[in-house]
């Protein structure tokens, strides 16, 4: 496979995963504000999503509208979908026609003026749901119709690198916003919304019914391999696709890649218990570094980037 194609597939995977994660977070955030318990700092909403927008004085719906539909903002959902589609366009001969159609329809949908008007003057929740449904359709089509080859591996590298990054960053934001493991009262309730945003509420209840415990939630985000949005799960998947790549093309590059993935996995598996805030921040910083190391390895050995 061409290095350029591999890189474009990797970024297509990243942009789609980013859109999916952000949409779920936006939906939950909107609901939490309606409930009177926002789980993010309302004035920093653009910052949370890595978006640069100076107009912080806007009303909530207008701000969320920007987060989703403003094409001038680099990381808005519409910009992500546009970029994912541009990547898909340049690799159309490496993805199935079904996947291309799904992504193209998503792009047409998010540009639909009626949908955008509905966000401002109708029911924002149904807009979020419609977009999330389109994400689910994309992932379903990817899973059911995309052949398992190099292209699929790079798409999934992108998907799980992005997921791990999002989980890590979002967990840090929540930790800081809610006073960490010392959260009490309303602060505790924000952890519940955080679980919703991460699609982890039901799973958390299975073992912790009736007990919102920030430390346990944080652990679920980091370590629990049964929870698909945990960092451990993402690392496991990255490891799996690294193995697959190495099976197809056993060489030094794939050995190098497996080594950096192994290091990241080991750091998570053999971590110490949290003793203090500093200790936790140090750890998340280290994890972030390992994620970047995997990306650097892909850039150098597979995408031909220096």
């Amino acid at each position: 496979m061409l290095s350029r194609v591999a890189e474009n597939l990797f970024w297509m995977g990243r942009y789609m995963e980013r859109s999916n994660s952000q949409l779920r977070a936006i939906r939950t955030y909107y609901v939490s504000v309606q409930d009177g318990i926002p789980f993010m700092n309302p004035t920093e909403i653009n910052d949370v999503f890595n978006q640069h927008n100076d107009e912080t004085e806007k009303e909530l719906v207008d701000r969320l509208f920007d987060v989703i539909f403003n094409t001038d903002i680099d990381n808005s959902i519409i910009s992500n979908i546009f970029k994912a589609r541009e990547n898909a366009r340049s690799v159309q001969d490496h993805i199935t026609i079904e996947l291309w159609h799904t992504l193209n329809e998503f792009y047409l949908m998010i540009r639909d003026r009626q949908l955008q008007n509905n966000m401002k003057s109708g029911d924002p929740i149904s807009v979020f749901d419609g977009l999330i449904q389109q994400c689910m359709l994309y992932f379903g089509v990817l899973d059911s119709y995309m052949y398992r080859g190099e292209g699929y591996y790079f798409l999934n590298f992108g998907k799980f690198i992005e997921r791990a990054t999002f989980t890590l960053r979002f967990s840090q934001i929540q930790y800081e916003y809610s006073n960490g493991f010392k959260a009490i009262g309303e602060e505790l309730l924000t952890w519940r919304y955080f679980l919703f945003a991460m699609s982890g509420y039901e799973f958390y209840l299975k073992s912790h019914a009736g007990n919102i415990e920030p430390k346990e939630i944080f652990n679920q985000m980091m370590d629990d391999v049964l929870f698909p949005h945990s960092i451990a799960y993402s690392f496991l998947q990255i490891d799996f696709f690294g193995e697959k790549l190495s099976e197809h093309y056993p060489n030094k590059d794939s050995e190098d890649l497996k080594f950096v993935i192994g290091k990241a996995n080991a750091a998570l598996k053999f971590r110490e218990q949290w003793k203090s805030d500093d200790n936790l921040f140090e750890f998340t910083k280290k994890l972030n570094h390992y994620i970047l190391e995997i990306v650097s390895n892909l850039n150098k050995n597979y995408f031909g980037l220096v």
Partner: protein
């Protein structure tokens, strides 16, 4: 109940050959279609029309126009009424195109080698040497199997008597074939069962024919040589076509930056290192293909590819330097070429063409400018053209000045009225002018033409310009089995 009003509303243009109607009656080869079409209510046809537009959009069969960082998607307008060609007519077209391409291919081989056609006084030498697309770099370069015109899209038009004329041969990088394929896919959905009922010949094997021709060009002893399609990139208006063809043929779609030349061998940069490339179906024009030889500011090509080609280490499709045969002044000599090289009479007619460097012909053109179309010899896509009816006095004056300043670069032709074909516009059938671009593939095994092609249509009432860049659209082309 038959919807007779559709046909009754169809008003023919005077002095124009209509594809569907003659002497007030539906032509035989249109009857099956018209009968079935009349079973639909106006509302049902409107729904089909809307469905066609939706399908083109949702499948991403679009041009992208970029402005302020965001792409604006535009579809190539599609008219749902097919253009139907009867079997014997197609046979005539097929024979005529094959004959023409055979002669043009020999011409290109000749002009870049011994130049017998010049020495024998058939074509003046200065005509060749003043053509900007005659590449001196191709002189004495042997191309694989002596094939230059691997893929061509010959533009055909019909005059008032219904006879076919060749307007252009398009021997460089003709586009539009993906629309031929997609138009057929849309027709299946708009008119269930009608295509088999009418006995229409299939076109969807075009990618198979093309990949076989490309594989045959490799000089490597391998069952699966590496064939790639070289595209200028996603910003090219024909990018959809490039991806479609690459996908349907199962080959890599590469950009210039994906290829590298080392020791006169072309490689592509893959995740597993460099991989040798044997055949390149390029959709990048000659002038951009190698910045070391042609335009040095080109980022679309591959440095060193020309020398790899010259050494025979890679096959490039179509060959470089074909532009000389596309020159509209050289076009006038194609009938002579056919006689000279093949000793045959031309099957397809050529539009009478006046060369502006000839003083008498220039005078004649200026006197009869209202019935002429003047074109630049090396432009295509409907650009650089003066049609008396569609221009102001001022424009005409400026254009004539341009002609006088550089007469070699202009030719004039009488305006051919172009045949009309029914189109469904604003809820009724209306005649619009059409041309036809069949696609021919030349391989070591011979020339193959997929029965069909792209029918382009001038959607503006009275317009004779079918180019997509000038408001043209397209329709499916049905060639009947019998």
């Amino acid at each position: 109940m038959e919807n007779l009003s559709l046909l009754n509303q169809y008003k023919l243009e005077q002095g124009v050959f209509d594809e569907m109607i003659t002497d007030g009656l539906v032509r035989n080869h249109y009857r099956n279609f018209v009968h079935s079409f009349q079973q639909y209510s106006t509302e049902a046809i409107n729904q089909k029309d809307a469905l066609a537009k939706k399908l083109f959009m949702s499948q991403g069969i679009t041009f992208t126009v970029y402005s302020s960082g965001e792409g604006i998607e535009k579809i190539f307008p599609f008219d749902l009424i097919p253009r139907i060609i009867q079997a014997n007519e197609w046979e005539h077209i097929e024979k005529g195109i094959k004959q023409r391409l055979k002669a043009l291919n020999i011409f290109l081989k000749d002009i870049y080698h011994q130049q017998f056609i010049i020495k024998d006084g058939i074509i003046p030498a200065h005509l060749i040497y003043t053509c900007p697309y005659f590449l001196r770099e191709m002189v004495n370069v042997d191309v694989p199997f002596d094939i230059y015109t691997h893929i061509s899209g010959v533009d055909l038009i019909r005059d008032v008597d219904g006879s076919y004329y060749v307007l252009e041969d398009n021997l460089r990088t003709p586009s539009g074939v993906s629309y031929m394929l997609e138009n057929r896919n849309i027709s299946y959905r708009l008119f269930p069962n009608l295509i088999p009922e009418c006995g229409v010949r299939p076109v969807n094997h075009y990618p198979d024919v093309l990949i076989r021709a490309l594989l045959d060009l490799s000089n490597r002893q391998s069952s699966r040589p590496t064939v790639v399609l070289l595209t200028p990139g996603i910003y090219n208006s024909a990018y959809f076509e490039h991806t479609t063809l690459a996908r349907l043929m199962g080959i890599e779609l590469v950009e210039g930056r994906d290829l590298v030349v080392e020791n006169h061998i072309v490689y592509m940069k893959t995740t597993q290192g460099l991989r040798k490339v044997d055949v390149i179906y390029r959709r990048v024009d000659d002038e951009f293909i190698d910045p070391l030889i042609f335009r040095s500011d080109s980022l679309l090509g591959v440095p060193g590819i020309y020398h790899a080609y010259r050494r025979g280490n890679v096959a490039i499709v179509n060959a470089m330097g074909n532009g000389v045969a596309d020159d509209k002044a050289v076009y006038t000599y194609v009938p002579e070429m056919i006689k000279y090289y093949l000793n045959e009479e031309p099957i397809l007619k050529t539009v009478p063409t006046y060369k502006m460097e000839n003083v008498d012909e220039l005078d004649f053109t200026l006197k009869n400018i209202s019935t002429m179309v003047v074109k630049k010899t090396n432009e295509s896509g409907g650009y650089g053209m003066l049609m008396a009816g569609g221009s102001s006095e001022e424009e005409r004056k400026n254009y004539i000045q341009e002609i006088k300043a550089n007469p070699r670069q202009f030719i004039a032709q009488p305006i051919i009225s172009l045949s009309s074909s029914p189109c469904y516009i604003d809820g009724k059938l209306q005649p619009r002018r059409v041309d036809l671009r069949p696609y021919a593939i030349s391989s070591p095994g011979g020339i193959e033409i997929v029965p069909g092609g792209l029918t382009r249509v001038a959607l503006k009432e009275g317009s004779l310009v079918v180019n997509s860049s000038q408001g043209g659209g397209s329709k499916d082309t049905w060639v009947l089995l019998k």
